[in-house]
Symmetry: C6
Subunit: 75 residues, 6 copies
């Protein structure tokens, strides 16, 4: 599985950039743990645990910072 | 639900930028966990746990850093 | 309650910038949890727990990085 | 073991940059803990624990931010 | 107690910049928790807990990033 | 003990820069906790705990981001 869908950080809009940030964060997890059964079991845990939801959103925020800079903040 | 309300990082003032940062952090959570019942239960937990309140404010700080840079710090 | 006291990131000195960073971090918490009783109880916990004091200082460091950049490091 | 494969941050594409980010994160761990038995046992733990998978993806996101800036975001 | 000793981020050398980073991190803690007895008890805890030592060094790294940028990396 | 070996962030190569990042992270710990017995005991803990290994690599990633910027990414 590719790490960066489309192999580019350039997106037309901030919304697309935000989607890409979510994808990058997820694809990192897939790269570290490719077993879908393990991931599915884990998803039931982290998506219902506030602390882990916050930690996930933290990673998205950092990925988005990179993508936003790559797109010169869509200015 | 959109990830970035208004599909732009540009805001008129720092205060609006800070509100957007809070929204981005929240919308990440909604994107990862769309079930409102789960979110409502989780909210009762994280908003009364200092460690998780601090972790939430941490994400807001990172989102705000991106938005502030996007607006050239409203200089 | 406003998120950014004075609705500006510009301060005259680094010391004022650091105070603003502390305020931004706190005001995020107030925005997420407006109930003062909950906050007061939480304060007794996190201000006496080294791990949470460190986590708080971490958020201040990130807010300050943004404010310092906004003020071109007061050079 | 080298810390930076190829001793360069420059990559041809974002995908290669992302791979390098994963490698940098892993090579840090090897440098801190060279014992492969310890690492193998640890891998079984962190790759099945959502919290640690998220923490790992967090490090990748930071490494990638550096590599992306090094490559001027492959613009 | 002042938050930023000397009310400036400018230092003559990286070593002085690193010292300032350590001071900023500590002064944040003092600002959040001014009670010296609480701090002394906490110090015995976090300076003997690897996880909290690592978390402390994490804050120093972020403060240093800001100070290094403020000094244009002493180039 | 000095905080920054060589009192400079400039290195000839990324690999040297990465080594410096590891050293900066370690020297922060020494500065916070100078007692070698405590450090040795702690090392046995954090180098065999995946969560703390990940947290350590996180600090290295941040230190490296600063050093890479200081060296203009060795471009």
């Amino acid at each position: 599985m590719e790490l960066i869908p489309g192999n580019s950080l350039v997106t037309a809009t901030p919304e697309e950039g935000r989607k890409l940030a979510l994808e990058l964060a997820l694809h990192s997890i897939y790269a570290i743990q490719p077993d879908e059964n393990v991931l599915r079991a884990g998803r039931d845990v982290y998506t219902t645990d506030p602390e882990e939801l916050i930690a996930s959103s933290h990673v998205v925020a950092i990925e988005f910072a990179t993508i936003a800079a790559a797109n010169n903040y869509w200015r």
